[in-house]
C-alpha cells in the first residue's frame, strides 16, 4: 500500500487554500505516488498517467476554493486525477490493455519459509495474477483499486466515478468471477 498521508494534512490544505504554493506542493508530494498509480491503472500508459496526474495537480489547485476544509484530501484529489485519466483514455480512442506484471523473481517480497515453498508461492501468485488479467476491464480495475492500491471504498468510488454501493456490488461480482477463474 502507498501510505503517504501527511500528519498535518488539514493544516496544509488550509495553507494551500490561502495560496501557499509550498503547502500545496507538500500535499501533492504526499499523494503523487498513489495518484500516478491510479492514473496508470485507468490509462494503461505510464506517459499518459504522468500527464494526467500533472494536469490534475494543477486543476486541483485551481479548485481548492471549492474543497471543504477538514474533509479527506486524498479521495478528492484522486477523483480529479481519475477524471483526468479517464478523459485521456477517451481522447486516445483506444487503449492498450494494461498488463499487470509481477516483479522479477527475487525482487518480489519473499514470504516463504523454504526455497520449495517459495517456488510454490510464486507459482500461486502468478496464477492469481493471470486470473485477474483474464477478468473484464471493469472487474480488474475495481480489484486493482481495492487490493493493489488499497484504496478505501470511498476512494475507489471517487476513482471510478461511481457510488460506493456500485463499488461494493462490482467488487463482489468481480471476486466471484475470480474465484471461478482460479478454481
Amino acid at each position: 500500500m502507498v501510505d503517504d498521508r501527511p500528519r498535518d494534512e488539514d493544516r496544509l490544505v488550509a495553507r494551500a487554500k490561502r495560496g501557499d504554493a509550498a503547502a500545496y506542493a507538500e500535499l501533492v508530494h504526499a499523494h503523487e505516488s498513489i495518484a500516478f498509480r491510479t492514473a496508470w491503472l485507468i490509462t494503461g500508459s505510464a506517459a499518459e498517467a504522468e500527464e494526467a496526474a500533472q494536469d490534475a495537480f494543477l486543476k486541483a489547485y485551481r479548485s481548492l476554493k471549492r474543497f471543504r476544509e477538514n474533509a479527506p484530501f486524498r479521495p478528492w484529489l484522486l477523483a480529479i486525477v481519475a477524471n483526468e485519466a479517464r478523459n485521456r483514455r477517451v481522447a486516445a480512442a483506444r487503449r492498450e490493455r494494461l498488463l499487470l506484471r509481477a516483479q522479477e523473481a527475487g525482487v518480489a517480497r519473499d514470504r516463504s519459509p523454504s526455497p520449495e515453498a517459495s517456488v510454490l508461492e510464486g507459482e500461486q501468485r502468478a496464477e492469481l495474477l493471470a486470473a485477474v488479467e483474464r477478468l473484464p476491464d471493469r472487474d480488474r480495475t475495481v480489484i486493482a483499486c481495492r487490493y493493489f492500491l488499497e484504496l478505501t471504498e470511498a476512494e475507489t468510488a471517487a476513482a471510478l466515478g461511481c457510488r460506493r454501493g456500485t463499488v461494493k456490488s462490482r467488487l463482489s461480482r468481480a471476486l466471484d468471477k475470480l474465484r471461478e477463474e482460479a478454481a
Partner: protein, 233 residues
C-alpha cells in the same frame, strides 16, 4: 479460496508498478507583485531565458514548444502595432506544405519569416472577433519539425488558463486569458527582444511534422473546430 482477500492484497506489493515520476508542482501564486516590481521580474525572467535558453518551470511541452506558467501578474495591455510576420509569399512558395484551416476559407495573406515560419492571416468573421493585439480574426503560424526553431516558448501569466488537450488524437495545448509572451530563437541564434510579441488565446497543435499555432480572440470551441479542419494547402 478463503484467503483470497489476503492473497490479492499481497499481490499488490509484488506488482511491477512503473516508477512514479518526479512531479514538478508549479502553481501560480495568488498575491500580486507591485507594478514596479513586475517590470523587474519580467526583465529578470527574460534575462534568464536568454542566458539559459531553457525554461526552468516547464509545465507543458510539445515537440518544439514549451509552455511555462509563471507566478507573475499580467503585463500591461499591448498596443496594436505592425505585425512582424515576414515577407508576403504565395502558399505554393512556402518551404513546406502548410496546413490551412478549411473552416476559415482561403487566407487573406501568407507570409514567410526567417525562412522557417509560415503565417496565414484571416480577417475577423463570425465566431472570430477582431483581436485587440493584432487586429485579425485568426492568425495561423506553422513550423515544420526539421525547420522549426530550436526553442519555442510562451510565458503565461497569472490568470492564464493552460489546458492540455487532444485534437484528433494528437497533442495540443489551449492557452486562454492572454496576453502572454511568445518568443523563439532561430537555430543557432540568440533570442532577441524584438522577437517578443503579445498574443491572445492560442491553440497549439501538433500535426505530424508540423507545429501549428492558431491565435485569436475566439473561444476554445472555435479554436478546436479550426484545428480539426486543418488540411494540406
Amino acid at each position: 479460496m478463503t484467503d483470497l482477500h489476503e492473497r490479492l492484497s499481497a499481490l499488490g506489493d509484488d506488482l511491477d508498478w512503473p516508477p512514479t515520476p518526479a512531479f514538478e508542482v508549479r502553481v501560480p501564486q495568488r498575491r500580486r507583485a507591485p507594478i514596479a516590481r513586475r517590470t523587474l521580474v519580467l526583465a529578470a525572467l527574460l534575462t534568464l531565458l536568454l542566458v539559459a535558453g531553457v525554461a526552468a518551470a516547464v509545465v507543458i511541452s510539445l515537440d518544439g514548444a514549451t509552455i511555462e506558467q509563471r507566478d507573475e501578474p499580467r503585463p500591461p495591455e499591448p498596443e496594436i502595432g505592425a505585425l512582424a510576420l515576414g515577407r508576403p509569399i504565395e502558399l505554393a512558395d512556402a518551404p513546406f506544405t502548410p496546413l490551412v484551416p478549411e473552416r476559415a476559407g482561403p487566407p487573406e495573406s501568407v507570409h514567410l519569416r526567417d525562412g522557417i515560419e509560415v503565417a496565414l492571416t484571416y480577417p475577423p468573421a463570425r465566431g472570430r472577433p477582431r483581436s485587440r493585439t493584432n487586429g485579425l480574426g485568426l492568425l495561423v503560424t506553422e513550423f515544420r519539425g526539421d525547420l522549426h526553431p530550436d526553442y519555442v516558448g510562451k510565458i503565461a501569466f497569472q490568470g492564464t488558463v493552460v489546458e492540455r488537450l487532444r485534437v484528433d488524437g494528437e497533442r495540443a495545448v489551449w492557452i486562454e486569458g492572454a496576453p502572454h509572451f511568445f518568443f523563439y530563437r532561430p537555430p543557432g541564434g540568440q533570442l532577441e527582444e524584438r522577437e517578443l510579441r503579445l498574443a491572445e488565446n492560442v491553440l497549439l497543435v501538433e500535426r505530424g511534422p508540423l507545429l501549428v499555432r492558431l491565435e485569436g480572440a475566439f473561444e476554445r470551441d472555435e479554436a478546436l473546430a479550426l484545428a480539426r479542419s486543418l488540411r494540406p494547402a
